[in-house]
Amino acid sequence: MSQKRDAAIVGIHEYPSRDVEGEVSPLQIKAESAAIALADAGLTWSDVDAIYDAGEGGGMAGLTMAEYFGLSPRVINTTNVGGSSYEYHAAHASRDIKAGKARVALLTYGSTAHSNARAIGVGGRGGASMHPAENMDAYAGMTLIANYAMVAHRHMHEYGTTSEQLAEISVATRMHAMRNPEAVKAMEDLEFLDIRETTIADVVNSRMIADPLHLLECCMISDGGGAVVIAAPEVARNCKKPPVWILGSGEATKYPMNGGDITTSAAAQSGPLAFAEAGVTPAEIDVAMIYDSFSITVLALLEDLGFCPKGEGGRWVEGGRLRFDRPSDGPALNTDGGGLSSNHPGMRGIFLLLEATRQLRGESTAQVADAKLAIAHGNGGMLGSRHAAGTIILGSD
């Protein structure tokens, strides 16, 4: 099979701190991560000719970030679809490079959500704005967690999924987090009470936040950021680290529809597009980096991406199937510890690309033996209402 070799991830950096104590800005996190990611690739600022930015550093991001970095890019892309923005950026960078419009693309993210004490999960999403959908929804007091909890409730109702099955996702990601020193440090810095591997009983006995989701099924709120450098084949071949090729991508959106099925996400559209382009099947994937804002997010996305049939996710994940040390059972899940146990500064999509790259380089702290293929799937917005899906299939040489 001849797979696409149009563009590759050649440099990465994950900003290590999850609690900058208000002393570093998002822009500083972006620039520091960019410099280290470029050095990781053996490149420098002047090699960059394309920037991709979700705008979290402020308005007119394409212009202001170019100036801040000190770059003169010939491609600027400021797609913002929440946490999935970075999968979109990777897809768009790959296209721009293939089209000859760019050679070296820089993606960055920086957030001080924790330092800002943003109550992402349980804050009021109130205050009517001028968007008509918001103007309909705000009065009901739906927290972010309740939004996802409504997906979980319907999934349980339709398919018999249990809290114990959903807890498998939290248990697997915590197991992986305990092997990752940066994740352990994150949990210490964010003052997690009991930092250790968890059991299914620990998860289902933790405090209920919004039925049926418990505390240990919810991601943390951290600071953080990172950078990804994507390059054309002729550049990638001469970089310091082995290239991680972008083999396929898919994008899709979903929003409330009268009579619609809330248990099926936009991944059901973006996943098949990405797999078809990459010429691989879910059964071949070694590492699944799946946006784990909540346990139910992963369960629904695994089904929608085709790892198991719709509705069978609960039974499929049982028995520790998602652990990194069981490669014969299918992909390992979120081997960095995920949003549940490593970091979630608000838009987690870049970390999916970072850990997938580490795995395909053989650099993970929960390394899957002989990992060759990985999927990074970002879900931006909210699973239970309007969200954007970005799927990226990555492969090593």
Binding site: M136, G141, A146, P256, G260, G384
Partner: protein
Amino acid sequence: MNDPVRPLPRTDEFDTQEFWAGTKEKEFRYQQCRNCDTVIFYARRHCTGCVDGDLEWKIASGRATLYTYSVVRQSYHPFFRNQVPYAVAWIDLEEGPRILSNVVGVSDPLKDIHIGMRLELEWEEHDALCIPLFRPSTESS
């Protein structure tokens, strides 16, 4: 200092102002296209089903079914923090619209609410509009 109040919609938002004007009359207004029959909700000026749409306003009966819900146990919002535990839900009106709202009128939201239950509309009155909430149906099925 005033007690915190439920966040209320703006009545001057271009697309949804007709819906909120209707609530003052305790009418649940929604749109349907005369051309292609598509039910539009939330309200818009264009038909999402066809490009030569001809939207007409209709009034829903208020009869509804609970599609899914969550009981919120923790909120930092100044109003909703004092309401916990309360139920948020996606609710399907008989005529087609699906709306995000609250299930009220139950003694224990943790026990008395279930997916598929029949609901009916209840209006919460405010100065400029009414808020559509839903309670268990009193109609025999």
